[in-house]
Symmetry: C2
Subunit: 325 residues, 2 copies
Amino acid sequence: MATIKDVARMAGVSQSTVSKYINGGQVRPANLESIRQAIAALDYRVNPFARSLKTQRSHSVGILLPTLSVPFYSQIFTALDKVLRERGYHTIISCYSSDHGLERDYFNFLVSTGVDGLIYLPENLTADEFSEIIANRSVPVVQVDRAIPGVCADAVLTDNTEASCQAVSHLIRSGHRRIAAITGPGSIQTARERIAGYLRALEENGIPYDDSLVLRGELIFATGYQGFLHMMGLAAPPTAIFSTNSDITIGVITAARERGVNIPNDVTVFGYDCVDVCSMMTPPLPVVYQPEQEIGRTAAQWLIRRLEGDGDPPRTVRLKCSLQF
Amino acid sequence: MATIKDVARMAGVSQSTVSKYINGGQVRPANLESIRQAIAALDYRVNPFARSLKTQRSHSVGILLPTLSVPFYSQIFTALDKVLRERGYHTIISCYSSDHGLERDYFNFLVSTGVDGLIYLPENLTADEFSEIIANRSVPVVQVDRAIPGVCADAVLTDNTEASCQAVSHLIRSGHRRIAAITGPGSIQTARERIAGYLRALEENGIPYDDSLVLRGELIFATGYQGFLHMMGLAAPPTAIFSTNSDITIGVITAARERGVNIPNDVTVFGYDCVDVCSMMTPPLPVVYQPEQEIGRTAAQWLIRRLEGDGDPPRTVRLKCSLQF
DNA sequence: TTTTTTACGCGAAACGATTCGTTTTCAGGG
DNA sequence: CCCTGAAAACGAATCGTTTCGCGTAAAAAA
């Protein structure tokens, strides 16, 4: 592999001149030409490691999230990646599979990998663990979808409570009084907020809260599948189910189909995410749409501003979701 | 930021001893302890850039694919990533959005980023472009799902032709004689192979080929949506549709729902990928299942072997798909 | 103890870029 | 024809590791 030294020798100039040329500085036309030729002849390419050692920048950002198998996350990633790449950054992904140990390890790993910044969709990390890893390293972090309480970093969130309240209110307006909710574990912020919205809708409409109608579990197919069976087995089963996650929704629908329960005639289901899949159902499933594109774009833009040296105090935004039916 | 030099000074040993300690070499117990303490006291962490400069290894592998918004790809990625991470590699993703220019650029970019190896799901790159970028760089590449003709690199593929033939044969056995196929552009290897399987099934069953029943388009929702409307508008519409991609399938189903066409009573649809979504339909959509987990795992394992110095000639494997209904 | 073997520690030289302070080059004006 | 000042080139130092050959201290054998 040719080095900058080889190029300099062949072009008959100094290393620093070649470096200047590479990085877009002013170079005398004659030198410019001979450097260009030398680079072509030697098939020279900048060694990224040497450059990063000198500049202490890698032009890479880490993305830490539970998984990319869930469309909501992969959509956010797609939007993120586009913006970052246009600005010359590449993305290093880590999926921690909703495992607390992995979440901590990968966070650590990512930071020590030399990323310039981090986009982080947290789940179980505590503020203490967070600070310990970040320590005095100057790695800006933008939190996405969820924010760790007590952590001092930007956060791009959605209005879970409001959206959930609207969804449940819509069910109530349609005449439902026994509405079940199947949601994620209480340790996850979005799950808590969505249940809060559910409760608010009940309260605003004077419907008493029935503990047996709220189910918490992992954000996976099985939770929806089992949850549906459980609900249908109740003495007084619900007439509607508010499913707060796409995998859960798929589980619910599958269980209903297998039992011959017609949706929405026998039970109404209100979903969350995965609009295109829900809209292919007959009839289309009503669903809370989260603006994945906007979430991703915003997070990327905020991180880029930090990378460019913006030292303002951390900000938080709540993006609006909308109901589709 | 503390450097190895600071640690050495504080621990009262030489840099090389510290380096040895860090990299798991034998160190005298007394030194071991003082180095450990110095590292803790200084909160020292290895500078990844300096290390990579010296070793010319980044412990990162690039993943180049069309997009992560399609579940088939994101599932493969998830499997890949798991294996790679267990072996201490992190993954740098690039999505080229099915754009030929981007595909070339990102390929180039990824290679010059200093990845140790590359996992590549190609679409439009030619063998010449490939060789020019790889040049004499020693970056092992494993191709996934598709292989560029003439490129000398490992490839992990599926048996598209066979699976498609089986799917279409199944439709024929169910009594269908007019079977449409909606598929990707002819430039994509998997699309060609799936059509080959379709043709073989027709031929084996003595059904004449009708050109108007085969539609090629981008691998997106709109292709399925428009394709369905087009097919239903024919003088002699098909009684079954073989949809060779998940986005296309979603488009087909959505169009059918909007037109009030019942699936499978009015038209039968056979899908590809996205088993969990298809199985929540009423009744479940028959579908070709591709072993995403196995594809991802295999590709990762093959790449790791290359990274460990395996210099055997390139290999190709065709993993078996299965029909689910 | 002395000798032989083994194990570790040491110091300095890379790795390949960028950067900084200094020197050279080259127009244009006097 | 020389002088001047800005523009560009130069050379050396630097970033923080790993590595390599050699030397010395500890452990084992005599």
